[in-house]
């Protein structure tokens, strides 16, 4: 209860910083476009509206794609699935990775060796190649793509989480709890995890970006969502041959993906910063107090 309200307080403080607000607005706009897009799209995403690679006109505001479908409608229609997939993959990957990394750091010894060697093995595969491998063996199923991306994230998150948690587990306040005989699970939950907020927030931002790239990349390579479905990654692949005739078919999805990653990272950065201050206090200590502390 107390922890949840503190997490909310941290996010609240992040939103009030200029950086956090900017990030949230940018990412929020992209999510909004993807979420309500299908409802407001002028045409169906599979309807032939104009000539292939037709220039923007009053019929199709952003012109036509390779088959003469409306670029605007397909852009509005093709984001939601990508965003949801990326979000689930990130949550899974960061969640599993952080849990493994923290366990390795806290319990040490045999656990540490087992977890970290397994992590090393998975790390040996490049992320995209690993996902490709799974998808090409088991077929382009959506759940499989999400799982593949999550699995490829987990080891990297585990490494970062372990390094950060090692530092925390050596702190005296963790020792103080251990002396009382409080079980490890509870210490991890109450004392280790809350002190990793800033590290994990940065990881979430970074991993969400990678998820988008890998999933869009898989679509681009022909895995993932299959034609004629609209998907930002797929659109970039389909329309790149007509880049000169009608650039919007490539530019629109590319710009939206870029905006989303920039927005998310700006926001998670702000949250990480905000979480360095604690409790209900201001993000930064009052400047006077800050310098005074340095002076001591």
């Amino acid at each position: 209860m107390a922890r949840r309200s503190e997490a909310l307080a941290v996010i609240g403080r992040a939103v009030r910083t200029p950086q956090g607000a900017t990030g949230l607005v940018i990412a929020g706009c992209v999510v909004l476009v993807a979420a309500i897009g299908p409802a407001v799209a002028p045409y169906s995403s599979t309807q032939f509206v104009t000539a292939p690679f037709a220039r923007a006109s009053s019929v199709a505001w952003l012109g036509g794609d390779i088959l003469g479908r409306d670029v605007l409608s397909r852009t509005l229609d093709g984001g939601w699935e990508l965003l949801v997939m990326a979000a689930i993959a990130t949550a899974l990957g960061v969640g599993v990775g952080a849990a493994l990394g923290i366990m390795a750091a806290y319990y040490g010894g045999w656990w540490d060796s087992l977890i970290m060697r397994a992590v090393d093995v998975i790390l040996a595969f490049p992320q995209l190649v690993f996902a490709l491998l799974l998808v090409s063996i088991l077929g382009p199923k959506i759940w499989l793509i999400v799982l593949a991306v999550a699995i490829s994230h987990a080891p990297q998150v585990a490494r970062v989480a372990r390094a950060a948690a090692l530092d925390i587990t050596e702190r005296d306040y963790v020792k103080a709890m251990q002396i009382l005989g409080i079980p490890g699970r509870r210490i991890i939950r109450k004392d280790v995890l809350p002190n990793l907020t800033s590290v994990l927030m940065v990881e979430i931002g970074l991993r969400l970006t990678y998820s988008m790239l890998v999933i869009a990349g898989l679509s681009f390579l022909g895995f993932g969502l299959q034609p004629p479905a609209a998907s930002w990654g797929l659109m970039i692949n389909e329309n790149r041959v007509g880049l000169i005739a009608n650039p919007w078919g490539v530019l629109m999805p590319a710009i939206l993906i870029a905006l989303f990653t920039i927005g998310v990272n700006t926001f998670t950065d702000a949250v990480a910063r905000a979480s360095l201050g604690v409790g209900g206090r201001a993000t930064e200590p009052e400047p006077v107090a800050l310098v005074a502390r340095e002076v001591t």
């Binding site: 002396i179 004392d191 006077v288 310098v291």
Partner: protein, 619 residues
């Protein structure tokens, strides 16, 4: 604000020379270092007006003399020290005043000119040589670099090393800093500082973190070098006893103001400012056990200074006049002893009655609550503890004394179960204790509580004080929310904190308040044995005094047994009934405090006691 009438130096300069007749300086005309009305400010930003961190600081130092600059954390002593090198911390700038080295104002120089000055003219010895030396370069490489930059005869290297007390420099020059002990590192830093024969040397707490024996040698070295080469030294420290050992003159800083200055002997024997008097009353002495008086409150932060005298809110001598204006220096003796206090002469008159002796009533010998027998610990075949035997009597306070690396902290960790790879037996309440926390019963875990050294690391920054204190409570007993709140409130009250602290977070608390919270967390479950690992070493003396008095009161009220681990021998005199001296993992001497401290049998203990800095040198 800086009217000439408020100037300390005018009087101090003249008189310092009078004192120094025995050792006439080379050129009595200009002092080696003269600081005149130094003012250092925090630059204004975002609607916050300019705030001074240090103001109206003036003093002089003659060649061959050591000035001790004393103050508690946050008093601005390091800020002043850095200004002597022409350096300012980020966000700070010179607000006025001069720093004259042989008559030349160094604050007016360009960065390039300052660069040429540092080393040959003014040198600096940092607090932690371990982090000031570059870890990836050999010591020899770093020392030669000093000669290479400032020109100089690199053949003098061995001579410089020998002067700093490193008689056999070969192996040291070929080592990396981490391969040296703390004492050796500090000597290397000293050699580096004295290498170019500077005219002024600034030492920023160079012996903090060294054990007393090493500290004594480093102090002797510094003193010797200053006298031999007529170097003026400014020695910054929070430890009055250390300053009493080394300094000819002492200046006391409080909240960025120089509140008292004078010859060391005079200042320590007859403190003229209530703050200095308070510090003297807070320091435990080797010779007698006396009541330690903490000072209530904490120093004001820059920007929050009260009107008038900055010390007024904490001062027992405060009168209405103190609120009106900042007091001007009052010269109290013809040797230049001056203090910024309107009642300075009254304070001096009281100096004989400063200390109140205390008779510790030794509780009758009872069955020991904790018996350690034959405990040994090794880290990868290196023995840390060897066959340690020790009793902690019921309701007694047993001090465990040793230098760093003697194994005293490891012993504490064995007792509380943090360290579980030990051999031997530890009996608690008549039952043998399993080695690690896991094997122990809830009752055993509850009855032995631990307070760690550093209050800045022992409280989870993500939990409120109430949650922190509540952790052991909810682990050991099922309580209703109201009972729980009640117990937390009681625990806070018992360590003299307000109940409203429960809603605060650790970073809103001062070091002393945090250590009180750590104590409350240990006491909230009613332990029988409290293991305290150097719990005052990270605190200022006035705070230490308050914590020690609190601990003694709680011990008496609750019938606690104490295992008090420390390297501070005078503190042992004030707090403990029995004392065990540990050296290199073995018990060296054991007995009552009076026995061991007044008539030590072992040569090691005798040396340890002889090396403790004290005021007899100065007074």
């Amino acid at each position: 604000m800086t009217a000439p009438s408020e100037d300390i130096p005018a009087t101090a300069t003249a008189t310092v020379e009078d004192v120094a007749v025995a050792k006439p300086p080379a050129d009595p005309g200009t002092p080696r270092l003269a600081v005149e009305n130094l003012r250092i400010v925090m630059r204004p930003s975002r609607g916050r007006p300019e705030v001074d961190v240090v103001d109206q600081v003036s003093f002089t130092v003659q060649p061959g003399h050591v000035l001790g600059l004393v103050g508690e954390s946050g008093s601005g002593k390091t800020t002043v020290a850095l200004a002597l090198l022409g350096l300012f911390k980020r966000g700070l700038a010179r607000g006025g005043g001069k720093v004259l080295i042989d008559g030349q104002d160094i604050l007016g120089l360009s960065e390039h000119e300052l660069q040429k000055l540092r080393g040959p003219t003014v040198a600096y010895v940092p607090q932690d040589p371990g982090s000031a030396l570059n870890p990836v370069l050999k010591v020899g490489t770093q020392l030669r670099e000093v000669f290479a930059i400032h020109g100089g005869d690199a053949d003098r290297l061995t001579q410089v090393m020998a002067e700093a007390g490193l008689e056999d420099p070969g192996p040291i020059l070929a080592s990396y800093p981490h391969q040296l002990s703390g004492g050796q590192q500090q000597r290397v830093a000293l050699a580096m500082a004295f290498a170019c024969r500077p005219r002024l040397i600034v030492l920023d707490e160079p012996t903090t973190g060294l054990d007393v024996t090493t500290q004594r040698r480093v102090l002797d070295t510094v003193r010797g070098l200053c006298h031999t080469y007529q170097v003026a030294a400014v020695y910054i420290s929070h430890d009055l006893a250390v300053v009493a050992e080394i300094a000819d003159h002492v200046a006391v800083l409080y909240s960025g103001r120089l509140i008292e200055i004078g010859a060391a002997s005079e200042l320590f024997a007859t403190p003229a400012h209530p703050y200095t008097r308070g510090l003297m009353r807070a320091i435990p002495l080797m010779e007698t056990s006396h009541e330690l008086h903490g000072m209530a409150g904490s120093p004001p932060r820059p920007g929050n200074r009260p009107a008038g005298c900055a010390f007024r809110p904490r001062c027992e001598f405060a009168v209405a006049e103190c609120e009106l204006r900042e007091p001007a220096p009052v010269v109290v003796s013809d040797t230049g002893h001056a203090a910024r206090c309107v009642r300075a002469t009254e304070v001096i008159a009281l100096s004989g009655t400063a200390l109140q002796a205390r008779e510790r009533t030794v509780p009758p010998a009872a069955e020991p609550v904790l018996t350690i027998s034959g405990v040994s610990v090794s880290y990868t075949n290196k023995p840390v503890l060897r066959d340690v035997n020790l009793d902690v009597g019921a309701k007694k306070a047993v001090a465990i004394v040793g230098t760093s690396g003697s194994g005293k902290t490891t012993l504490a960790r064995c007792v509380v179960g943090l360290h579980k790879d030990w051999t031997g037996t530890i009996t608690f309440d008549g039952k043998q204790l399993p080695p690690g926390v896991r094997g122990r019963t809830q009752d055993q875990l509850r009855k032995i509580q631990f307070v760690a050294q550093n209050p800045y690391g022992s409280l989870n920054p993500r939990q409120t004080i109430g949650q922190i204190i509540g952790n052991p409570l909810s682990h050991f007993s099922k309580l209703s929310a109201r009972e729980r709140e009640q117990r937390i409130g009681d625990a806070l009250t018992s360590v003299a904190l307000r109940e409203s602290f429960a809603a605060r977070y650790p970073d809103e608390l001062s070091g002393g308040e945090r250590q009180r919270v750590a104590l409350a967390r240990a006491l909230v479950v009613d332990p029988e044995l409290l293991v305290c690992d150097e719990i005052t070493s990270a605190l200022d003396v006035s705070v230490q005094a308050a914590i020690v008095e609190l601990l003694l009161r709680l011990q008496a009220e609750r019938g606690l047994s104490l295992m008090f681990i420390t390297h501070n021998l005078p503190l042992v005199r004030s707090i403990a009934d029995d004392v065990t001296v540990i050296s290199a993992g073995q018990v060296c001497e054991h007995g009552t405090v009076t026995q061991v401290l007044t008539a030590p049998k072992e040569p090691y203990t005798q040396q340890l006691i002889a090396d403790v800095p004290g005021f007899e040198h100065a007074v």
